[in-house]
Every structure is written in C-alpha cells, then in structure tokens.
Symmetry: C2
Subunit: 369 residues, 2 copies
C-alpha cells in the first residue's frame, strides 16, 4: 500500500479483520442470553449485529481475510450464520481472557499467513449507521498503520459526556488521507467522572475509544514483546504449537493468560499512537434505552411490532415475536417478552437491567441466563 | 318457614339458589376470554369465583337445590368443576338474553319442583368477603320473601359514588330478622351521574343494587304475568314443552325473548319491594384496579407471583404462571401475561381494557378473544 490518496481496493490486499464476538453482555436481557448475546440480536436492523459487522467490510475485506473470535457457547450459531467465512477462522476461545490475549493470538495467525498483514480489531456488537464513512476511516487507518508502522485507533467524536467509555486526547494533525484526519494521540484515559467527561467534550480535544484498533501484525507483536514480555512469550508458545489450529494447546495454554484488555495492556503504555477521527454514526447500543433511540418509531414515539395495540401510550419499546402486546396509558417503558421471561422497565432505568441479571445469577435461575 | 327469629337451617328447605354464570366480561382480558370469563378466574382466592359462589351457600342451600345458568362456551368447564351439582341443573342457554328470561325460566323449573320454592338470584362473578354475613342476609331475605310474598333485593351500603351501578332508595324499616334490617324500597334508579351518585351516598338513604334478588317462584311468575305478559306467555310455552330438560325447545324458543334485565323488566316497575341492607364485604371486581385492591401485596404494594423480581417498582399487579417477570423502576401498572397475549396497563386506566378487547374484535383477532 503506497501513500497515494486515490487508492484502489487492491491496495488493501493485506488488510485482515479481527472481529471480537466473545461478548456475553447482559444488558439486553431477556432477549440476550449467555447463548444468545447482543452480537447475535437482530433487533437493530435486518440481520444480527455480527452479520452487519461482516457486511460492512464488503468490497474492502473479503471473507477469506476475516477472523471471528468468540466463545464456545455461541460458536455453533456463528458458524451457521456465516458459512462463507472459512470455519477455521471462526475461533472459540476456551476461556474469556479479555481482548489482549485474543488480539495477540490473532496477530500471530495473521503474521504467519502474511508478513505484510495489517489487522483491524472490530467489535461485533456495535451499530455503525454510516458504513461508507466507516470504510473510508478504516482505509485511512490501515494505510497509516501500514506505512508508518504505528498503532492506530478509530476514535469517535463524543456527542455527550459519557462516563462509560474511555477517551483519547488528541494532539496535532499528522495527515489527511482520503478526507480522513489522522491525529497524534497524546494520551489514553480511563472512564472519567462526569465533570471530567464534560470538560473533555467541551474541549473538542477528545475522542471516544470505541475499541477499534489497527496495526501491522508485526508491529503489534513487537510492541507486546517490549511492553508485555510474559504475554508475548506465552503467545509465541501457542503459535509454535499451531496457534488457532491446535485446539488442544489452546485449551491448555489460553486460560493461563491474565484477563487484560488491549487498552490497559498496551495502548495506554505506548507513545506514538495515532487516531482517525471517524464520523461513522457509531453507537455501542449499551442499553435498551439506546436501542429505543436507534429504532423507528410510530407517531406516538413507540417502537412496536405489528402484533401490538397501543392505546394512549407513548415512548415505549415493545419487543416480542410470540405474544400479542397491548399497552394502555403507559409511557416510556421497555417491554420485552421472550416466551420464558418478561421485562417491564422504565426506559430511564434500563442501565439497571444488568442488576436484574446478577440477581437471577444469585438466585441460580440458570434457565433464564 | 315461620317468622321466628332463631331459625334452623331446616327452615330453609324451600330455598333454591339460581346462580347467573353467563357473563362474558372482557374487563379481565387477557386472562378472561370468551371461553374463560371472569366467573372462572381463580385470581381472587383459592378457587374460581363461581366455585366460591357455590361454596358460600354451604350449610344453607345443598347442591341439589342449586341451579347454574350459563352459556354454551363455558358449559363444559362448569360441569367439570362442579360435579356435585346435578348436571341437568347446569343449564347452557342457547342465546344471551340478559337476566329476565333466565330468571323466568328458573322460576318455572323451581315452581314445578316445589310450589313453596323460594329462589335467590346470585351473580357468579362477585367477591363477598364476609360469607357468614352474606348467609345471614340471605336467610333474612328468604324469610321475608316467603312469609310476605314480596320481592326482595340484597342491597349493599355504598362506599363511594359509583356511577357504574344502579341504586335503590330506602323507605322505612319494616322488620329486623336475625339482626338484618328489612327496609321498604321506594325506588330503583338507573346508573346515576357523578353529582347524583355523590348525593345518594351522602344521604345514606341508598343502597347499591348488586343483582341479588329473592322471591317465591310463584310470586315472580305472578309479577311477570302482570307486568310482562308477553314474556310470561313465552315462558309458559317453554315450561309446557319441558323447560330446561327440553334442549330442542329451548334452542328454538329461548332466542326469541327480548334482551332485557330483570331490573328493567320488573323490579323498577313494582311497588312493595323490600331490601336487606347487607354488610357482606361485597365487590363486583369490575376491573384490574379493583382486583389489585382486593389482593395481598408485598412491602412495596406489589401483587406478584413467586416467579418474579421487583427492582425499584411499587404498586404493580403482575399476573403470569408461565413467564418469569422482572420489573425495574415502574409504578402502578397492571401486567398480565397469558402465553399468547400481554397487557401492560396503567392501573388508573384499567377501565379501558374493554376498549382494547373491542378493538381486537374489530380487527377480527378471534384467537385472542
């Protein structure tokens, strides 16, 4: 990939997508379950978030260069849903070890396959409303990562003082590629308190860290060797044993990794990281309330299926494909029915759905989890 | 039955109960359906309202002297639930013709069987929290109806200016029987407007007409002959053909009756009616809101089954025996789940449940009715 501005897709023949689909989020209970997590929900469009993540790469990263890392509970369903991705590239991790070990494992696989390989880390459970803008930002990041051998983060311009995300502080503009701004990152920050988050947003010097990263596989491995030498050695051990193709070695060695995110293990400790300021209509759909905001509404602001009747009710989100739903005189509720469980939640309280799930865990109601 | 005050139950050997169980109320949708109306719901105690109505008569009216009039949709279920009542006395009317024709039919049956028969009309879908007081009021009414050959209504002291009920205006006290007051009725009134209802309640001269009446069967038939001669002739025709035992005649002749209530057909037109002022803990449970009031609540005022979790929620009524219910941050809702339908309704709007059912009828969603 040369530093030209008018690039062809053949310029991206070394780009690999690594889709992180191991999440077991509880925030969309009762629709999301251990065996049916958020990335496999299809309420945010015509297909699941995971399938949308794959579809978004069309024309840029072919199926042969897509990897999906997930857990054993959902591995089977993902294999069925995405038959065009080579089955060996859909990897069930034997244990949940956060993002750093997974990314390291992917880096060795890609490096083995392509010494020039550039890897883009993409979460499987986010909504991106502007897929063309996303591809443009991704391309710019990949070019910069390839030519400069740097770490790149796709950052999102904050629209509210969110305390649930990490932020990156921006330095000077380094380059424009295909209309995309590449900026120096001065610092990664942890989730801020609200007054701090407000300052960040007002300053216009911060982007949200949405968990999308780009490196050459070789760059990543070198960085890990320097900053996380123990993890780097353990990764080499797995790679030497056959990597993702040696299930037995994976089962034995992978669970030994420390649970640690790539942000904490690596990104916060590096200097010379760059960000693409990506205006891509991003949302991590972190709660039912956000799902409501993203969905199409009727005249009274209700998100509801055809098999429903709304009398004097406004601002509700109704989800069920089994039962006929009737609301009378209710406002701003999340109502989700799944055949074995029913949630009725004030929209403004939807961040507490996780609490309910933890309570079900405590009560050992495993059938509902 | 003599006019003694200390009566034995053998004094009531001529008393027959006529339970009106033909209602097809829609106010407890989605729990109540055409085939499962309110009188067959068991959410108001340990058995259905109909079974409670029968149980309340224990020690006073044996099963052999109980009649149940209902419709064809629920006839089978009632036969199963009440195997100790002679099957021929559980009558499916071939058409819904309101109360007057049904009561006339019952009167001929009872008169044929017992010329001294006294009949008590009892709705099957009411709650009576003081069954002993109810029996005492019923006894007093039966004695008065038997000795004086008069029409008697069991009236309820109003506790609120209800506009959904008829009222009776009281005249002078005629007698005390077993601690029960028998009063002259000056007038039956239709459902009043709110200011009128307020005046009624304040005056202490009115009782609610709860649809419980007592006559000698012979008295009733004589009154009908005088006030409703056409209906009386049609009733005699059915009686001559075999009455409730001739299903074919019933099917042919019964639907010809005018749809008319006994209140309108007869009671409002009679003079010399008496009331028992009955303090019996009565409720017609006319809506989910009333069901909520009558039910046992947790510390937060929720009526909810064991298979539920309530987080920051108060004043709700949750009904489901299939699904696990979770509420978060919601107040004063009625939530009812039945496997094919879900209702979420503001408690103060529960009188609008009937509206929803009419809308389902309009949409021809017969499966849900």
């Amino acid at each position: 990939m040369g530093p030209k501005t008018n690039s062809r897709n053949s310029d991206y023949a070394h780009v690999y997508a690594v889709i992180m689909a191991g999440g077991s989020g509880t925030r969309f209970w009762p629709l999301s379950r251990r065996k049916h997590p958020k990335q496999l929900l299809d309420i945010f469009g015509h297909s699941t978030l995971l399938e949308q993540t794959v579809a978004r790469l069309e024309g840029l990263v072919p199926h042969e260069r897509i990897y999906i890392f997930t857990n054993e509970l959902v591995h089977g369903e993902i294999l069925q849903r995405l038959p065009r991705i080579p089955a060996r590239q859909i990897v069930a991790e034997p244990a949940q070890r956060n993002t750093a070990p997974t990314i390291g494992l992917a880096a060795h696989e890609i490096l083995r396959r392509d010494p020039e390989g550039v890897m883009a880390i993409l979460p499987a459970d986010h909504v991106i409303k502007k897929p063309a803008a996303f591809r443009s930002a991704l391309k710019a990041g990949c070019r910069w990562a390839a030519t400069e051998c740097r770490s790149v983060v796709l950052g999102i311009e904050p629209t509210r003082p969110e305390t649930g995300y990490g932020y990156v502080r921006l330095g000077e503009l380094a380059k424009r590629i295909g209309g995309q701004r590449i900026l120096r990152v001065e610092k990664f920050t942890e989730k801020p308190k609200l007054p701090v988050a407000r300052r960040y947003v007002a300053s216009k010097r911060y982007l949200w860290n949405a968990g999308m990263f780009i490196w050459r596989a070789s760059t990543l491995i070198q960085n890990l060797q320097r900053v996380q030498p123990k993890m780097a050695r353990e990764l080499e051990q797995i790679a030497a044993a056959g990597g993702i193709d040696n299930g037995r070695a994976l089962k034995k060695l992978f669970p030994r990794f420390e649970k640690i995110s790539i942000d904490y293990a690596l990104m916060e400790k590096l200097s010379g990281v760059f960000a693409v300021a990506a205006d891509i209509g991003w949302s991590d759909v972190g709660s039912w309330a956000v799902a409501y905001e993203l969905s199409q509404k009727d005249e009274e602001g209700n998100v509801r299926p055809n098999n429903s009747l709304s009398i004097g009710s406004a601002g509700n989100m109704l989800v069920s494909d089994r039962e006929f739903l009737v609301t009378i005189g209710v406002k701003d509720l999340i109502i989700v029915e799944t055949g074995d469980a029913l949630l009725v939640c004030a929209r403004e309280r939807s961040q507490d759905v996780g609490k309910a799930v933890r309570e079900l865990e405590r009560l050992k109601l495993n059938k509902l989890l």
